[in-house]
């Protein structure tokens, strides 16, 4: 039962991951953006746990646990606290309008699927077909970082890019070694904290967290 439907459920979860990446790309509200990020973490946790159950790789259970703890609970909590303290509930401002962003997103998905196709031919894992989706998630998060002008959505984009990378590692080679995974997890946590401080600094300097103000730093 598990061996038969497991890979199909993983494919479904991968598709949901891509759906959430697109939802984040189209999202205008910052609170919903963070909730979507938490949902993405939850889907990633389920997918990793399922791969672990299918392949019997015990270290994947650990990384699934780290995902649950870090990306579903801790990081969204930090982000929620951040925007509560910044007192920002504004709509997310985009540099490109959202329909155009979505169109660019579709192009990126096609690109990712094509680039990943030869690589997934070489992989011997049960999850190899989802590699294209993982790559697409990375590119879509990257697109989100580029097209948002405020700092907090950029941070969320960075964190969700890490989600995509993590999924790509699981899909291609059943996850990275534990040391690397813990290192990356710690990196992301520290990055979120540092970026949080950074956001405060930007606001104190410019009374706004619009990163376009950073371009004005040169002396006049």
């Amino acid at each position: 039962m598990l061996q038969h439907y497991g890979p199909q459920v993983i494919n479904l979860l991968a598709a949901v991951l891509l759906l959430l990446a697109f939802a984040m790309l189209a999202q205008r509200r910052i609170l919903s953006l963070i909730n979507l990020f938490a949902a993405q973490g939850l889907v990633l946790f389920l997918a990793t746990a399922l791969v672990a159950a299918l392949t019997g790789q015990t270290h994947l259970y650990w990384s699934a646990g780290v995902t649950l703890l870090l990306k579903v609970l801790l990081l969204p909590w930090i982000l929620h606290r951040l925007i509560r303290r910044l007192n920002v509930k504004w709509d997310v401002e985009t540099l490109l309008n959202i329909p155009t962003t979505m169109l660019v997103g579709i192009v990126l998905v096609i690109l990712a699927f094509n680039v990943a196709a030869p690589i997934s031919e070489l992989a011997g894992t049960v999850t190899r077909s989802t590699l294209g989706i993982a790559l697409a998630c990375v590119l879509l998060s990257f697109l989100m970082m580029i097209t948002r002008s405020k700092a907090v959505p950029q941070v969320v984009g960075f964190l969700s890019m890490e989600n995509g990378l993590f999924f790509a590692a699981t899909a291609a080679v059943y996850g990275m070694p534990m040391v690397v995974e813990l290192g990356v997890a710690l990196d992301v946590l520290v990055a979120a904290l540092i970026l949080g401080v950074f956001v405060f600094q930007i606001r104190e300097r410019f009374d706004s967290v619009d990163t376009r103000h950073l371009e004005n730093l040169k002396e006049r």
């Binding site: 439907y5 199909q8 459920v9 494919n11 479904l12 991968a14 598709a15 949901v16 891509l18 759906l19 697109f22 189209a26 959202i98 329909p99 979505m102 169109l103 997103g105 579709i106 998905v109 096609i110 699927f113 077909s129 989802t130 294209g132 989706i133």
Partner: protein, 315 residues
Amino acid sequence: MSASGLAAQFTELVLAVLLAPLLTGWVNQCRAWLQNRSAPGLLQPYRVLAKLFRKEVVLAHNASPLFRTAPYLIFGCLALAAAIVPTLGTDLPLNAAADAIALVGLLALTRFFTALAGMDVGTAFGSMGARREMMVGFLAEPALLMVLFTASLISQSTSLSTIVETIAHRELVIYPSLAFAGVAFTMVSLAENGRIPVDNPATHLELTMIHEAMLLEYSGRHLAMIEWAASLKLFVYSCVGIALFFPFGVPPGGDALGIVLALPVLAAKLAVGGVALALIELVSAKMRIFRAPEFMGSAFLLAVLAMLVHALLES
């Protein structure tokens, strides 16, 4: 074509036409309960129809024959669309004649005639409503086609019966592409039926109304036909949704026992669908009209993604 197939076809058509107002009544009732209002009776749409059929028809002086025939054309198209969608059995004689693309064509024809009738008398509201309806329609239609194509790619056929048989009666396979297509289809059917994020069927506020603006000049039995057709449209969309995404329980052939057994399953699915629709309408806010293209654009992109995901994961 068999006698039992004909019987299934006939039962399905009659049931769709008779039960469509009941579904509308059920959705209205759920919505009222969720909004903490006292609900209108389940049979209220039938009472409204009976009242309208008794009333006199008032026509504008410059109304053309098109204005008078449009309600019957719209009703006929939607009744035919309801007959194509396999809900009680897959052995339907009409299925050889009309596939998923014909279904989209029929729905486009109803939209075309509604818009023409809206512009016919020449009132400002009618033309405005027609323009808005076409704006929503031209974006909703390709999205709907893409959703149907995704299901067709899975079953290798555009015939709705084959799609239902592939998904319901072969070995159970999880199709991730149908998850995307399902979201896209929900968005399209909300827009096409004038439900809340895009249009509000209960409003007559000139700034926001889309569908109602075209019907302002209608009265009496013409209005009754159009209201009935609107219920039928909701019914058709619900049945297409059931056929594409939850076809389990539709009997493979078309024998009498199968039809009798499929009826309560269909009723249960429609009831659940009605609650889901009421919930969606409850939690979402009406969009500005210029957000509607963005909404439909997202639906189209999701449908395209569904096809891409099908190509990646299921081929």
